[in-house]
């Protein structure tokens, strides 16, 4: 299920105390021997002359310089320790390793500069030896804090509970996903503070402390489940009942009390046999929650088989799916087999049999189609394929650096033929070539599937129709003082909200103005649009239909026809 990027849990950061043995002289010798294995020859090479990266950090609201902010480089292989800003908010950071970096600036009480950023909105820059790089002014927004306490059902504090802040994001039109933005742990009083948050609406989830990290290394089948509930509810977490916290600007939401429910655990064990009835070894069995609500506490576990038998211990009761795969050696060659079994876990389930079967060969895992430009076969065109689960509870990858939508691009052959891979679930095809042309429509078996289709159900053949009658809306954005709004984000969206919720809608577009505040949007389908240049646009949230609705108030209306060119003037608000 490649389209679910389930978050990998960061193993508890703690290192538990280890206890030494008595150092008698003989063990002391052993210790010396041990040292030998730690040793490796070091390179005595002196690095290049450093690049000097400078800038100034101010409070976004007031423009006041921020003293003592921590500045360091993110990305690349930097080993430079952080530097602090001076009284005037200025910093100079020497970096000896060349690479592509982003500045990570933080100051208690403010939102860290790369907090919750998606890859496309982090400003990376190249660092070369000896360069002087001025990054200008870095504005930090006042942060908000959610503090509270985690307790068990008898009201005693739960120490080392994992507490995470999640929010629903809209990084693309019609794409709604959960993302974890911050995590922390409770102390021995059960207290937590989720700080440095962008003001907004959060869902706070707490879970019992995970197993100590060493158990992960030691046992491949450690249960990675932890039980979690929110609020006063019992049972497993349910997305309909997280504690939602609306944080106010710069303030603290305190007194958030979370009670962890007592969760029952059960064991799941059984064996895997192939279609000929033989036990399968050298494979793995995955236990995953039946519903992809994906919040912590609903993670999967994997067991590696040696004898064909598997055991999952300490699984919180609930609905799960067991999956496995096998390779069957036959006269005809290797055959791939797989099995999947839905289980409802209330008490121990032992003696399950997972019998693998050959996968159906005729399942379509891709499609072939033709591309036409103004009705004629189009040579060498790039077609972008987006795969989308249409799962309301899609969980984004944990890393703010990565937000990738599965799919791929393919280039048509000279005769306009193209092929696309994958294709389980919802597929949206988009044109990814030069802006001289634009997508007009996509059809499957004569049916319009421009807004997406189910690969398994759609009829053939696919046709992608491009047009050379490209619409263009261009313009310039100015600030309130009349100056150019450099690098300002501009949103152009259809007047009709019906198209806002279509995954990867062509009628909702985000572009960034250049240094002169100039922008251009090409290839919009003909229709009525609104254009706005909101200040402090959050690229992870911009396609939220509620935000689009709010921006009506500051937007400029513009209508466009196929092939039409229009120019508008916008104010950053």
């Amino acid at each position: 299920m490649a389209h679910i990027n389930r978050r990998r849990r960061s193993i508890a950061r703690s290192s538990y105390p280890t206890y030494p043995t008595y150092p008698t002289y003989p063990t002391y010798l052993t210790y010396l021997t041990y040292l030998i294995f730690l040793l490796s020859p070091v390179s005595a090479q002196e690095p290049n002359s450093p690049a000097l990266i400078s800038g100034r950090v101010v409070a976004a609201e007031t423009g006041q310089p921020l003293r003592g902010a921590t500045v360091q480089l993110a990305g690349g292989s930097s080993q430079t320790p952080p530097v602090f800003t001076d009284l005037d908010g200025r910093f100079v950071l020497p970096e000896r390793r060349i690479g592509r970096y982003a500045l990570h600036v933080s100051k208690p009480g403010y939102v860290p500069s790369v907090f919750g950023r998606l890859a496309d909105s982090i400003d990376y820059f190249e660092v070369l030896a000896g360069q002087r790089i001025d990054r200008g002014t870095i504005r930090l927004q006042v942060a908000t804090v959610i503090s509270g306490r985690v307790q068990d059902q008898i009201g005693e504090p739960v120490a080392d509970a994992s507490v995470t802040a999640w929010r629903i994001e809209y990084p693309q039109p019609g794409v709604r996903m959960w993302r974890q933005l911050k995590d922390t742990s409770t102390n021995d009083l059960g207290e937590f503070r989720l700080h440095g948050l962008v003001p907004g609406r959060y869902h706070v989830v707490a879970s019992r402390p995970a197993l100590p990290p060493e158990s992960f290394a030691r046992t491949p089948d450690s249960p990675v489940f932890v039980a979690a509930t929110m609020g006063q509810s019992a049972g497993l977490p349910n997305l309909s009942e997280p504690i939602a916290v609306d944080t106010i600007r710069g303030g603290e939401t305190s007194g958030t009390a979370i009670t962890l429910a007592h969760t029952r655990f059960a064991r799941v064990s059984g064996s895997v046999i192939d279609s000929t009835g033989r036990p399968v070894s050298d494979t793995s069995v995955t236990l995953s929650p039946a519903h992809s609500d994906g919040l912590p506490g609903r993670r999967g576990a994997q067991v590696y088989l040696r004898t064909g038998a598997f055991t999952f211990s300490s699984v919180p009761v609930g609905e799960y799916r067991l999956t496995t795969a096998a390779r069957l050696m036959t006269k005809a060659g290797l055959l791939a087999e797989s099995a999947s079994l839905a289980i409802s876990l209330n008490e121990d389930l032992n003696g399950l049999i997972l019998k693998t079967e050959t996968e159906a060969p005729q399942t379509r895992v891709g499609a072939i189609g033709h591309v036409f430009l103004d009705g004629a076969p189009a040579p060498t065109t790039r077609i972008q394929e987006m795969l989308w689960s249409r799962d309301e509870n899609f969980i984004a990858s944990e890393s703010p650096d990565v937000l990738s939508f599965p799919g791929g691009a393919s280039t048509t052959r000279a005769d306009g033929l193209f092929g696309i891979d994958g294709g389980e679930g919802w597929v949206v095809l988009r044109y990814a070539g030069s802006p001289v042309f634009a997508l007009k429509s996509v059809t499957a078996g004569g049916v319009d599937v421009t807004d997406g289709f189910d690969m398994k159900r759609a009829a053939s053949p696919f046709e992608v129709h491009l047009t050379s009658r490209v619409s263009t809306i261009s313009g310039v954005v100015k600030d309130a003082d009349g100056g150019a709004a450099a690098a300002c984000d501009v949103v152009v969206f259809a007047d009709d909200p019906a198209s806002w919720k279509l995954p990867f809608s062509r009628r909702v577009v985000l572009v960034r103005a250049d240094e002169k505040g100039e922008f251009q949007v090409t290839g919009l389908p003909a229709g009525q649009y609104l254009a706005a240049a909101p200040a402090d646009l959050d690229r992870a949230m911009w396609a939220d239909p509620n935000r689009l609705e709010r921006w009506r108030a500051i937007a400029t209306a513009v209508s466009i026809a196929d092939g039409e060119k229009k120019t508008i003037a916008l104010k950053r608000k």
Partner: protein, 542 residues
């Protein structure tokens, strides 16, 4: 990939697939060590010794009891944690009983598992202007003394500061701790700042943590503190690059405690150059030894046959923040120490002599370098030759015939038993005196009701504080009582001593001078005399 669903839910004919999983049960109760009260809602994690035993988790009920059923047979340890207490593992070999054996059939009752109350250190991390610093990694380093003068630190869990710069280090085993704060990710070239705000490990202060108590107000002002480094060349006695060397840095902190979290060692390249990075500022010794020697020792477990394997050197160096100290180290073969072994004043000879092995230890017991012991077999004429010796040494025996005990060593007419002897040239005339009539201690430990205490831990130590500060001190001993509550020390130098029954949990700090000092008021004094047995009886105080 499309996975086709095939659901088969039926009883397994076991012989066809795998052997039946045999299971047993474990039960017990968790109590507070100080009050004996049950601890409810404690987390338990049962971990198998073998990887195919999957871990289990459970929680205690209102009476502190727990029951783990359907546990696959095998050996396990049990880790118990609860807010306010020290996380503790039961069933570890060093705590006495070995891992719990779960057997099929009858339930296994583990009885009462006592949790010690943890100590807490709270405080804040501030920048130079006094503003709070968030997300700074704060770490507590437990000061341990396994043997006298061998203080070293063990890292415990680290915690980040919050947006107010506050930290709370909890669940700490009672003891002494150093606290450090460091900015940035590990691997960043920034050394930790130690409480009370020093980049130099020699100036770090230890904080006393008591069970169930909070040491608050630990404020650390974080100073920009890049690591220093030591680079240089190592040459052998012929003047060429010493490529077979291992270079180590040893902390020269006066109490011998090294606060570097990583091993500061390097192997020179083909030109004899080396560099050791990530060194906290402070005073060190650069110690050079032979890699072949180390490997030989590793293979044989003793220093026998290692004569002439490489050269050694030791020079002092001061490391400054953000700077690379350049050193040139010239190694040499070290010196020869010749001597004789006497038993009850008579020169040892024959088979008795050859059963003895003499060693010269360095006071730097924590590290590599010339601190490595030189050892030699005694010849039939009672003489021995130690080679490759350099720097401060004290003499001991590693192997003895039955009923013979070490008494003392003399070098150049001075006592070299409990005081280091500086070897700066070849030495002759070292005398190792052994005795068949040592001072002997016999004792018993009983509880307040007079019942013998089994597996009681006893520390016997000199009344003189200076004797605790000696590496390898002969005037510091530990013992464990048997089923009858009896213990015995076969040989101890004559003198005035104290003996005390101590908690086993404190074993990693029994030899801490501060710990021994705290035992003075409750310890039992006695005098040991040569050729006689002193009997002492200790009573547990509740």
């Amino acid at each position: 990939m499309i996975l086709f669903l095939l659901a088969l839910l039926q009883a397994v004919p076991q012989a066809q697939t795998h052997a039946p999983v045999r299971t047993g049960q474990l039960s017990g109760r968790v109590i507070a060590a100080d009050t004996g009260a049950p601890v409810r809602s404690a987390d338990l994690r049962l971990m198998g010794l073998k990887p195919d035993l999957s871990p289990r988790i459970a929680t205690t009920d209102d009476e502190g009891r727990f029951l783990l059923s359907d546990v696959t047979v095998g050996q396990y340890t049990l880790t118990v944690s609860k807010a306010g207490f020290v996380r503790q593992s039961f069933g570890l070999k060093k705590d006495g009983p070995s891992a719990f054996e779960v057997t099929p059939g009858q339930p296994i009752e583990l009885g009462d598992l006592a949790l010690r109350r943890g100590g807490v250190i709270t405080g804040r991390v501030l920048d130079v202007a006094g503003d709070p610093l968030a997300d700074v990694t704060v770490q507590a380093w437990r000061l341990t003394y396994m043997t006298p003068a061998s203080g070293r630190v063990m890292s415990t869990r680290s915690f980040p500061t919050n947006d107010r710069g506050e930290f709370r280090l909890y669940g700490l085993q009672p003891g002494r701790y150093f606290v450090s704060a460091s900015l940035g990710a590990p691997g960043m070239a920034e050394a930790p700042t130690f409480y009370p705000g020093t980049s130099t490990t020699a100036d770090a202060l230890a904080i006393d943590v008591k069970a169930g108590q909070e040491s608050s107000g630990v404020s650390i002002q974080l100073v920009p503190n890049p690591y220093g480094a030591v680079a240089g060349t190592v040459t052998d006695s012929k003047g060429g690059p010493y490529t077979g060397a291992v270079v180590g840095l040893i902390s020269a902190r006066t109490d011998g405690v090294s606060l570097n979290s990583v091993q500061l060692t390097a192997i020179p390249d083909s030109t004899g150059r080396f560099k050791i990075v990530n060194v906290s500022p402070g005073d060190y010794r650069v110690e050079v030894m032979s890699r072949a020697w180390l490997e030989k020792i590793g293979q044989t477990g003793t220093g026998i046959g290692t004569d002439g394997l490489g050269e050694v050197a030791s020079i002092p160096v001061t490391v400054m923040s953000g700077r690379t100290e350049e050193v040139a180290v010239q190694a040499g073969p070290g010196f020869r120490v010749r001597g004789q072994v006497f038993i009850d004043g008579a020169l040892a000879s024959g088979a008795t002599a050859t059963a003895i092995r003499v060693a010269a230890y360095s006071p730097s017991t924590t590290i590599s370098g010339t601190g490595a012991p030189a050892g030699a077999e005694v010849l039939p004429d009672g003489s021995f030759v130690l080679t490759g010796v350099q720097g401060e040494r004290f003499f001991r025996v590693e192997k003895l015939p039955g009923n013979v005990h070490f008494h003392r060593a003399m070098a150049a007419g001075l006592d070299a038993t409990e005081r280091g002897f500086k070897v700066t040239a070849d030495v002759t005339g070292v005398e190792i005196h052994l005795t068949t009539r040592p001072a002997r201690i016999e004792g018993t430990v009983r509880d307040a009701a007079g019942a013998p205490i089994r597996d009681g831990s006893i520390v016997v130590f000199s009344t003189q504080r200076a004797d605790w500060m000696m590496p390898g001190s002969l005037r510091y001993h530990t013992a464990r009582s048997n089923a009858e509550g009896a213990f015995m020390l076969a040989s101890i130098p004559a003198g005035s001593y104290l003996a005390a029954l101590v908690p086993a949990e404190d074993r990693d700090r029994w030899a801490d001078p501060e710990y021994l000092e705290s035992l003075r008021p409750i310890a039992t004094p006695f005098t040991a005399a040569t050729a006689s047995t002193t009997t002492i009886s200790l009573v547990a105080k509740r």
